[in-house]
Symmetry: C2
Subunit: 478 residues, 2 copies
C-alpha cells in the first residue's frame, strides 16, 4: 500500500484542514514550552511545604515511582527534570535546596514560612505523547516557573471597587463583631480621641496606622486565626515599611465634607495611592502573567478556631475568587487581560485526619467556594478541589473502641517528641450551621514530619500531589 494513499484520498479542503491541524500542533508545542504556576494561601496554610514537596516530586518522581496519577510518568514519557537559573533578576529565589534539607535532614522540620514574593524555575524533559508531536521532536522541555506570593495580596482586589468611605464603613462594621471588637479596642479608642477634620500631621497618622496594623497582626495570630485582612501589604510591608502609602487606616466619615489637608482627606489620598501603586501594580506586574493558580487552605485550623474564624475564611476565599471571576465586575479585564485557565483549591494537611475523612475535606472545601463556582462566573477557568498532604507525617490506624471501629491517626504532634495515637474527630461534609458548633467540637493537631521512619527511601511521602500535578501540568506534557 502506498504510504501516500491516505493523503491521495483527501480532498483539497481536507488537506488544508490536515495542514492546519499540524500547524496548530506546532503552535501548541511552541506555545506550551513555558508555564507560570502561582501558589498562594491564607497564612500558615503550608505554602512553603507544598511548593517544596511539588518540586521534590518533579525532581525525583521518576526514581521513586510514587506519582501514579501523573500521566507523563505513568506512560513512561518522563525523562527527568532539574532546577534552572531564575529568569527574573529582581524576584527573590524560592530556596528549595534549603527547604528540602530541613525537611529531609536528621531531625526533619517543616521549612520556615516565606515572606512576600519568591520564584523558582524548573525544566521538565519529556517525550511528547501524540503522534504528530513525536514526529516534530523526540524530546521536549517544559519550563515551569513556580511563583509563591501571600494570599493577602489577592484580598486587596475588592479595594479597587471601593471608595475610602465605603471601605472604612465595611471594615468598621466588621469590627462590630467578635473576635474583632476586642482586638480593635485600642485602635478604635485612639480614633475616638482624634478629630479627623483637623489638620493632618505625620505623628497622628502614624499612631493611628500603627494601632490599626497591630490590630491586623493580632487578627491573624495562631490564637485568633482570622483570614479576611486588608490591606494585605500592611502585614508584609517590605521596603514600604513606614512609608506614607502604608500610613492610613479606616475612618468613620463625618456628615460634612472633610477639609483639605485634614486627617480624613490625607488618609483618603493615601488609600487611593495604595490602590493605584500597590494593588494595581501587583495585578499588572505579576498576576497578569500567571497561567495557573493554586490556593491552599488549612481547613482544620479554621474549624479549630470556631464559627467566627471559619466564616471569616469563607469570606476570604470568596474575596480571593473575585480575582478570577472576571465575568462579574470586569474590573480585571479593564486593567488587563488575565490568562489563568486552571484554578486548584487545595485543602492541606490531609494526613492530620484519618484517611476516611479525606472525601469530606474535599466536599467541605467545595461547599465553601460553591457559590461563585456554580454561578458560572469562571469564564473559561477550570476549577478543581483536592485534599492533599504535601508531606505525610502520620499513619491512619483502624482500632476497635467501645465496640465501634474508629480510624485513629498515629504521629508525633508538633512540638512533642513521642508518637501518639489520636482520634482527631470527623470533618463535616458541609459548612456547619451556627448551632452545630459545640464547645471544642474540633481540635485537630499539627504533626511533625517523620521522614526517617517513613521507609520510602529518602523521598518525601505525599497524598495526592500527583493528582494536583496532573491537573496543573498534564496537558502541557502531552
Amino acid at each position: 500500500m502506498s504510504p501516500f494513499k491516505n493523503v491521495a484520498n483527501l480532498s483539497v479542503s481536507g488537506l488544508l484542514s490536515e495542514s492546519k491541524k499540524a500547524v496548530d500542533n506546532i503552535t501548541h508545542l511552541a506555545m506550551d514550552r513555558r508555564i507560570r504556576l502561582a501558589v498562594t494561601g491564607l497564612s500558615q496554610s503550608g505554602k512553603t511545604a507544598f511548593i517544596t514537596s511539588l518540586i521534590h516530586q518533579l525532581l525525583h518522581g521518576l526514581s521513586a515511582g510514587n506519582l501514579p496519577f501523573f500521566s507523563v510518568v505513568a506512560e513512561n514519557r518522563f525523562l527527568g527534570s532539574k532546577t534552572m537559573l531564575q529568569p527574573n533578576m529582581e524576584i527573590p529565589a524560592f530556596q528549595y535546596d534549603k527547604f528540602i534539607s530541613s525537611l529531609t535532614g536528621e531531625k526533619p522540620e517543616f521549612p520556615r514560612a516565606t515572606d512576600g514574593l519568591s520564584e523558582i524555575r524548573l525544566a521538565i524533559r519529556f517525550q511528547p505523547g501524540s503522534f504528530i508531536s513525536r514526529q516534530l521532536s523526540k524530546t521536549a522541555t517544559l519550563y515551569l516557573d513556580i511563583v509563591d506570593y501571600p494570599g493577602e495580596w489577592l484580598l486587596d482586589l475588592p479595594l479597587l471597587n471601593m471608595t475610602f468611605k465605603e471601605w472604612s464603613e465595611q471594615l468598621l462594621n466588621f469590627c462590630s463583631e467578635e473576635p474583632r471588637t476586642a482586638l480593635a479596642a485600642e485602635w478604635l479608642k485612639y480614633l475616638q480621641n482624634i478629630d479627623s477634620s483637623r489638620v493632618a500631621d505625620e505623628e497622628t497618622m502614624r499612631q493611628a496606622s500603627q494601632l490599626f496594623t497591630k490590630f491586623l497582626h493580632d487578627c491573624r495570630t495562631k490564637k485568633t486565626g482570622l483570614s479576611y485582612l486588608q490591606p494585605g501589604r500592611f502585614l508584609i510591608p517590605g521596603d514600604l515599611k513606614d512609608a506614607p502609602i502604608l500610613t492610613f487606616c479606616p475612618l468613620a466619615s463625618s456628615s460634612n465634607s472633610p477639609p483639605k489637608g485634614s486627617v480624613y482627606e490625607v488618609m483618603e489620598q493615601r488609600f487611593e495611592s495604595y490602590k493605584e501603586r500597590v494593588v494595581k501594580k501587583f495585578y499588572r506586574d505579576h498576576f497578569s502573567k500567571f497561567d495557573r493558580q493554586i490556593v491552599l487552605v488549612d481547613l482544620q485550623k479554621a474549624l479549630n478556631h470556631g464559627p467566627g474564624s471559619f466564616g471569616d475564611m469563607q469570606s476570604a476565599l470568596q474575596g480571593i475568587l473575585n480575582s478570577f471571576t472576571y465575568g462579574n465586575s470586569n474590573l480585571l479585564t479593564r486593567l488587563f487581560q488575565p490568562k489563568i485557565d486552571k484554578l486548584l483549591f487545595v485543602a492541606t494537611k490531609a494526613d492530620h485526619v484519618a484517611a476516611n475523612q479525606h472525601p469530606n475535606l474535599e466536599r467541605l472545601l467545595n461547599r465553601m467556594v460553591v457559590r461563585p463556582v456554580n454561578d458560572a462566573v469562571f469564564q473559561g477557568v477550570e476549577v478543581k478541589t483536592l485534599a492533599i498532604s504535601s508531606v505525610v507525617c502520620t499513619q491512619t490506624v483502624v482500632r476497635e473502641h467501645h465496640g465501634r471501629r474508629l480510624s485513629f491517626v498515629k504521629g508525633v504532634p508538633k512540638g512533642q517528641s513521642e508518637e501518639v495515637l489520636l482520634f482527631p474527630g470527623e470533618i463535616p461534609e458541609t459548612v456547619p450551621s451556627l448551632t452545630d458548633w459545640e464547645e471544642n467540637r474540633f481540635n485537630f493537631l499539627d504533626f511533625q514530619p517523620q521522614l526517617a521512619t517513613s521507609g520510602s527511601g529518602g523521598s518525601v511521602p505525599h497524598l495526592r500531589m500527583d493528582q494536583a500535578i496532573e491537573f496543573l501540568l498534564g496537558d502541557k506534557l502531552s
Copy 2:
C-alpha cells in the same frame, strides 16, 4: 526730599538693571521655597543622631537660643518651624518623634540606626532679610526635605565605570591585604573549588554569593570597621534579598572567554544588571534630586582601628567624592544633571575628644579629602568641613597632670553607668604615616547621652550644629 529722587537720578539702563535685580530676587524667592538636603555617612557615623539633632535645633532653636551662628536666628528673623506631611508616598518616614523621645527620655539613649532610605519634611517660617524680598512678602516659608540614605550606596558609583573583570580584579586585589585576607578566607576557598566555566546553577551562585555577603558584613563589624565595601546593596538588600540581581560575587577570570551559561558569564550578567537597575536607579530616582549633601564620618573610630581601617575610610571618602566630581569622568552628567551646590563633610562625635582637639579633627578630615578638593574637580560645588557634636555627652575639664595642663573629657562611657574622667589622647592634624601608628596609640571611647544633667532645659546640647545649618540653609533664608 522726593521719595522718587533716587529713581529720577538713574539712567534708563540703570532702571532696567534695578528692575532685573528685583525680578531676579522674585525668581530667587520663588525658586528657593523647597530644598532637598541629603544626609549620608559611613556605617555607625551617627547619622540618625545627627538628623534628629538637626530637626530638634530647627524646631526649638528660637526658644533655646543656642544657635548663634544661624543668621536668621541671630537677626531675629526666625519665626518658627514644624514637621510636615511627607511628600513622597513610597519613601519610609524618618521617625523624628520616636528618635527624640529616646534621646530626651528619662534614660537617654542614642536612637537605633536607620536602615535604607527615609525622609522627613520641615517647614521653616522666616522674615526675608533683604529690602526687596520684604516688600514682596512679610513672611516666607522654606520647605526642607531631609533625606537619609546609606553611604554604601554612594560607593557603588565607581562600578559604573568598571567591567565585571576589572571590578573582580580590584576586589580580589584588596583581599590580598589584611584584614581582608583573613575575612575572605572562607569565601575564597569556596571559589577555588568551583570551576567558573562550568554551567551555572542557582545553588552554586547562591553559596558563593552568600559567603561573599558574609565577608562584606564581617568587614564592617565594630571590630574590623572597614568602609570601602561594594556592592552597597548587598549589605542592605531590602526587597531584593535573595533575588538574582544580588546573587553574584567577584570571580578571577580565566584566560579563555567564558562559555555561555557558565558561572562566570551568569555572574557577569548579574553584575551588569546590578549596575543598570540598582546603581543607576538610585542616581536617577534620588541622587539627581538632592540640592545639598552632608557626609558624616567617625574619625575617632577609624583611628582606633589602626592604619588598615583608616586608609580604607580614606579610600571610601574619595570613592564617595566621585559622585560629586562630575568634571572628572562625566559619568554622572551622562546619566543626568546633578544639581548639588554645597557639600558638607562632618567629623562627628567631636565631644568625645577635648575641645582643644576639635581644630585637629577638622584639619585631619580636610587632609583626607584634600586631593579631590584641591584638584578643583568640584565644578561649582562649595565644600566645607566641620567637627560637630550632634548631642554633647561630655564636658572638657582641664587638670594638672605631672606638671602639665591636660584637657580631660568627663562623661559616662557607653554601656557603663558611672561618670569617668578620661584623657582620650590627641587627634593628629595630618594623616599619620605608617610608622606613626604605635600599638594602641588611639583608644577613643563612645559616650552615653546625659541630657538630664546637661542643664539646658530639655533641649539637646550640641557643638557647631548652628554652623552646619548656616552653611546648608543660610542663603535660602536670606
